[in-house]
């Protein structure tokens, strides 16, 4: 049953060193604030699962929180590479990063299987691809009716999933609208699910067949307005395309990255302090132009 907590409390209570952690959100509703808080609390040896590692995992990897990454596409959308991810894979900095690589269809099915309580997913995939040669967890099953050989992949069942959503009601029921990605499946596949939300409202006013996660299926709901920045929250704010571009020079080398997280993340008490500091820095940059 969801408790309404601060994000700090939720991370303290539910995220442990060594956990398998999924922060999901498919370009929309990416739980950035949660990634910051995990860095602030200095979690270590995490196995990170996410279809599109994006800036949130560039952050966690560069900050030394991760020992392994399970993913299917790692880039800075519309900009280019994830510099910290590449540095970890190519040069082992700040520590070697084991990678377990899949395709989107595979991971999406693996989340569905995880939510369904199944140990594996079946899909028509990978024939002719080299990915099974480098990922021994891509195996096969034979259809007992047709004899067709299909791909079998392990389901994703994180210790903790964190997602961001538009709103929750006072009981902790959560409504997600717009691009849904794999958030519902990631939430239901996990032992614990933390949801950061833009706001808590009296009545969700959810359409009858909307994507609602009932409070009793969640561990914590944390109000964090703006918590998906620089991605967007449909109906609340737009994607901060500028930030995705600004990220590239910050993350390009180790020194500028470390200075940035020391300053903006480790040097702020919480996401709201981060937002204030970031706002001041941008204002200063504008004035300097």
């Amino acid at each position: 049953m969801a408790e309404i907590l601060t994000l700090r409390e939720a991370v303290q209570r539910f995220v442990n060193d060594g956990d398998t952690l999924a922060l999901e959100g498919f370009t929309h509703l990416i739980p950035t604030a949660a990634a910051h808080e995990i860095i602030r609390q200095g979690r270590k040896d995490l196995t990170l699962v996410r279809m599109t590692p994006d800036l949130v995992y560039d952050l966690l990897i560069g900050a030394g929180c991760a020992k392994k990454l399970i993913f299917s596409w790692g880039g800075n959308p519309g900009v280019g590479s994830l510099r910290r991810l590449r540095d970890a894979v190519e040069k082992g900095w700040p520590q070697p990063l084991e990678i377990e690589e899949h395709s989107h269809a595979d991971l999406a099915n693996a989340y569905v299987a995880g939510a369904s309580g199944l140990p594996f997913a079946v899909l028509r995939a990978y024939a002719g691809s080299d990915l099974p040669k480098v990922n021994p967890l891509i195996r096969s099953v034979t259809c007992p009716f047709t004899g067709e050989v299909l791909a079998a992949v392990p389901s994703v069942r994180p210790d903790v999933t964190v997602i961001h959503a538009q709103k929750a009601d006072g009981k902790g029921n959560v409504l997600i609208q717009g691009i849904l990605g794999v958030q519902k499946e990631a939430a239901l596949a996990a032992r614990h699910c933390i949801v950061t939300v833009e706001e808590i409202v009296d009545d969700l006013k959810a359409p009858m067949n909307a994507c609602v996660l009932p409070a009793w299926a969640l561990s914590a709901v944390c109000p964090v307005p703006g918590g998906a920045h620089p991605s967007y929250a449909h109906g609340y704010y737009e994607r901060d395309n500028r930030f995705y571009q600004d990220w590239d020079p910050i993350a390009r080398n180790r020194e500028s990255f470390t200075a940035w997280i020391d300053d903006f993340i480790r040097g702020t008490a919480d996401f709201s302090a981060f937002q204030e500091k970031m706002g001041q820095a941008r204002l200063a940059a504008q004035e300097a132009e």
Binding site: F26, S103, A108, R124
Partner: protein
């Protein structure tokens, strides 16, 4: 006739391959630009599906990410990503998979994973994304990318998404449901698989492009079809629609729709 860039020629040539009423699974970047140009010109009823969930998206500006809000707002419906891959792609409902690539080989196989050894990479690329299963299950595949010695290579370091495999009927032997890539559209030419071998050969040169240019910018011993056409230059309608789309995109995002 209006002047145009080679990139514009590439986008226009790619857009023309999309029929009206076809259902198209769109990758971000060049494929998305070409598919939306088709929708804004000769194919107003083309159905665009993005892996993030929108079905029937009709964006007025190009998305920067595969899940921009504009895609959701203009779609007929927005479904979970798992459903996109399960019911719509694997379910056999995609006519055309429209893919970009970091590298391609003569059989239309695609590498978006790594340059060099997988475990000791020279360059770590973004990875597979949706491409392996789009390449496998879409009824046919179009590939769009800029041509160069580094992108059109003799031997891929890694096959992320299969085209015609080792050529001939290898793809069929692999049991893949879709027909595989039917064209590679570049800034220089159009290549199509040769009957029998399924090796990509040049079937149309863009206006002003020489065979030598194509040979220089291809990492394998590229061959030319018996009859090589000259691609029709972009017409005013196409160019105007493309430039307006790009202008709207720049105004909305403060940057062009991602080329990557």
């Amino acid at each position: 006739m209006m002047n145009y860039s080679t990139n514009e020629m590439m986008t226009v040539a790619a857009a023309r391959r999309l029929g009206n009423d076809s259902v198209c699974f769109v990758g971000i970047g060049l494929p998305s630009k070409a598919a939306n140009l088709a929708r804004l010109t000769h194919a107003p009823d083309v159905v665009l599906i993005y892996e993030s969930g929108p079905i029937g998206a009709k964006p007025s500006v190009l998305p920067l990410s595969i899940g921009d809000g504009e895609l959701a707002e203009t779609a007929d419906t927005v479904v979970p990503t798992g459903e996109i891959f399960r019911y719509w792609l694997q379910g056999g409902r995609i006519d055309v998979g429209f893919l970009g690539a970091a590298q391609v080989d003569k059989y239309g196989n695609i590498n978006t994973t790594v340059i060099g050894d997988y475990h000791q990479p020279k360059v770590r690329l973004p990875g597979a994304g949706g491409a392996p299963e789009i390449a496998g299950s879409a009824k046919k595949v179009l590939i769009i990318l800029k041509q160069s010695h580094r992108t059109f290579v003799d031997k891929l370091a890694f096959i992320t998404s299969v085209g015609h495999g080792e050529g001939g009927d290898h793809r069929r032997q692999l049991g893949l449901p879709g027909a595989g890539p039917v064209a590679i559209i570049t800034d220089l030419c159009i290549m199509e698989p040769e009957a029998g071998t399924n090796e990509f050969v040049v079937t149309s040169l863009h206006p002003g492009v020489t065979r030598e240019q194509v040979v220089e910018n291809t990492g394998w011993a590229i061959r030319f079809a018996d009859k090589v056409a000259v691609t029709e230059a972009p017409n005013e309608t196409e160019l105007t629609a493309l430039r307006e789309l790009e202008a709207r995109t720049a105004a909305a995002h403060g940057q062009a729709g991602g080329e990557e």
